[in-house]
Amino acid sequence: MSRIGVFVCHCGENISATVNCEKVAKITGELKGVEFSTDYKYMCSYPGQTLIKEAIKEHKLDGVVVAACSPRMHEPTFRKACAEAGLNPFLCEMSNIREHCSWVHPKDDLTTEKAQDLVRVMVEKVKKNKALNSIKVPVTKTALVIGGGIAGIQAALDIANCGHKVIMVERQPSIGGHMSQLSETFPTLDCSQCILTPRMVEVAQHPNITLHTYSEVESVDGFIGNFKVKIRKRSKSIDEHLCTGCGLCTTKCPQKKIPNEFERGLGFRPAIYVPFPQAVPNKPVIDREHCTYYIKGKCKICEIVCPTKAIRFDQEDEVIDVAVGAIVMATGFDVLKTDYFPEYGYGKYADVIDGLAFERLASASGPTQGEIRRPSDGKIPKKIVFVACAGSRDPAKGIEYCSKICCMYTAKHAMLYKHKVHDGIPYVFYMDIRAGGKNYEEFVRRTIVEDETQYIRGRVSTIYEKNGKLIVKGADTLMGAQPVEIEADMVVLATAGVANHGAEELAQTVHISYDPYKFFAEAHPKLKPVETNTAGIFLAGACQAPKDIPESVAAASGAAVKVAALFSNDELTRDPLVAVVNRSAPPVYSQCVGCFLCQSVCPYQAIEREEIKNRNGEVIKTLARVNEGLCQGCGTCVALCRTKAIDIHGYSNQQVYTEIMALLND
């Protein structure tokens, strides 16, 4: 016979306003197997919890039902209280008489009756509950950081400085990300390279960080604390140990006219190249798509000139296996491509460029050494039109969100232009100016007032070329939608920030969720902004949504703290509410027939194969087994298993059946 205690909470008046809590306690106290029942104003408060603990001891309770709010809210609270009183925490259940009853029904006898039913169901369930022990899983104290932009760099340094090992994977030949392309940064106008490159070097030199550039993550298996990752190190065609980074090869390569991605196509690079002078690592790679040797079968000039004989034409990709305990996603963002803007002539007119190209023009290390010269003829433009929200907040282009960084960098661009070309006139077409952030509004004000930028509120409808000028047509909505036409020398589009290419595939590879725009999804928009729904995988920077540098860095440090917290224990403790495949005596061993349909349906790759062998070591049966570290207790496998060989601890078939029967047998 069970000795169950029922504790009915008033939740202030949240429950008692419509449910007669005293009556619920009294009636359910008469149920078979209920030893004690009571009601109290705030069960979760200190006196409330004490009441439960004392009742457990005094009445020797072997099960507890707390009728209160949602278990999502307070199940941990009450289970902990029970544990403190010596009762196995998994013998405590909650009956939700608030969200499921008092909040959704009027004050009525029926409402009270429903509350009684909900309690009765849980009493029956608790009778079938079993004492469970928490699961312990070991932790590999090495973190994987995917992406080496500022966010990845910050996360890696923070984790490494806590004394943990970090493996960084960057798909480009150099780390640095978009920030390495920027000229000066809002709102302080400090030079991007000057604040970034020292950190890039720190990553390369940190004893706790292993850097794999020109590499990508190929597969991720395992679970929090115990991931197994395959990294494909693409062949750079050089022996990095021998190469001294002298750069002689890059000057002799006959391929000289390859559009330079780093310069947004405003300059050229050879086939063997270092993406930019401050690159980390500062050693070249051969771009096999454009290398004469790989195209035509002969050349090898770089091999001839290389003083250390470091060139390796036959080098192959290498796939390495690493074990890590946590993963930080920091793969950043991209900007909309040219083909999205036929109406602006982007891609057609050389002098319609995007914001990143403008960054390169304004950068001291850029193709024009920091002079603002237009791409078509190298002349200094006297009028520049900046178009904010190019693609953003535009359902027609499929992007309804605000890219967030464009208002600020457009103001920065106008300001930089004015600082460099004193007689130039910058125009900005905008929808709204969104300058929320420390010193951001002041920055935009300066652009407008001190740097005399003409802000026009409205969208640009078309841009076309006429007599060497770009005719920009738009409307000024503050002047009653009056048409505006500007003869500009150059146009800069603040193209929308979008998810990086390959983000969707990567999310699927590492098994995290993503939003409709393919940005990685956080576990909770407010309370878990750097966690993903997959335990042990965290988010940093613009891979989650467009973010500026301060936000990217803050998120990266947040993710690093989560990783450090995870690594502060040698073992992880998990709730044991996981699936289990039943086992029985030979010759059956289990009801499982080894069809492994559960394996393909499990969203967490938690089902493994176990071979049952006889004394001679021959396999006599192959059965499913649940990896307790991976299983999230979702129950999908239970629904699929035809032979009912799988069950979930704490939500067993028997328990659910009992609950239903309790209701039906009223």
């Binding site: 080894g594 393909s600 349906v601 035809r642 028997q654």
Partner: protein, 267 residues
């Protein structure tokens, strides 16, 4: 001596197989399955137009498995059963020796899954036209009419479980119907019990049924219960592009998710 008898005798004698599943003459003018273990027994083997039973179901029966390495006389349905069972890890490649009876009486041997897959690709595996017509009739009914139709059919069911025993895909050691802790499916053959059983059966065979028709053939009460699983074949094909029993390494359409899966069935 027929080619079949010669072939099976040779296979047994050179120990390629230990037992062969084929057809023999039963009582009256019936045909039944037989399990041949030596040359003498092999003389009983027959092969004619009445040999239509899908024998693949026997491959997983405990008593048959015990006989050692198996050979089987297969028709198209049996080949598909073998593919489906392979995809559910019940049969390994090379484990079963398959003889296929061609329409002209000649035999084709299959020793691996690849050759069966290739053969099935160019073979008609569809549902018979009479059955197509019945399905069309069912589909033309209103939901209510269909409900009444099936309830009327299920009323006849005596829960002998012959359909389950005949189905090659019903190989669980313990069927859900036999689970009594808890007893989700009532044992008794009353209205609710019968409905529960047949719904469960249809769900468990959705996308796995290879349209062999053995269940309906086995039914002593003449319930056309094969139509229930047949009716699920084309929507699963249309929605997920999958047909059961065509590939040994297929993944079950209803247990996998692809980002481009249609979701038009969600209302």
């Amino acid at each position: 001596m027929s080619d079949l008898i010669k072939k099976v005798t040779a296979l047994l004698n050179d120990k390629t197989i230990n037992a062969f599943i084929g057809y023999e003459k039963g009582s009256a003018d019936r045909i039944r399955a037989t399990f041949i273990r030596n040359e003498d027994q092999a003389q009983k083997l027959i092969l004619n137009a009445s040999c239509t039973q899908n024998l693949a179901g026997y491959l997983l029966k405990h008593e048959v498995k015990k006989l050692g390495k198996l050979g089987i006389l297969a028709n198209v349905a049996a080949l598909r059963s073998i593919m489906q069972l392979a995809s559910e890890f019940q049969i390994k490649d090379g484990e079963v020796y398959v003889l296929f009876a061609n329409a002209d009486g000649s035999l084709t041997e299959f020793t691996d899954f690849k050759s069966i897959e290739a053969f099935l690709e160019t073979t008609d595996t569809g549902i018979k036209s009479e059955e197509q017509e019945m399905i069309a009739k069912l589909e033309a009914m209103t939901v209510n009419e269909r409900w009444l139709f099936w309830n009327k059919e299920f009323e006849k069911c005596i829960k002998c479980y012959a359909c389950r025993a005949a189905c090659p895909m019903c190989y669980c050691h313990r069927c859900t119907t036999d689970v009594n802790q808890p007893q989700w499916i009532p044992v008794a053959s009353h209205e609710l019990g019968n409905l529960d059983y047949h719904l469960m059966r249809a769900m468990h065979l959705a996308g796995r049924c290879v349209n062999c028709g053995e269940c309906a053939t086995a039914c002593p009460m003449d319930i056309p219960l094969n139509l229930l699983t047949y009716q699920l074949i084309s929507p699963i094909k249309a929605t997920f592009g999958a047909t059961a029993g065509m590939k040994a390494d297929a993944v079950y359409a209803l247990s996998t998710y692809k980002p481009d899966d249609k979701e038009n069935f969600i209302i």
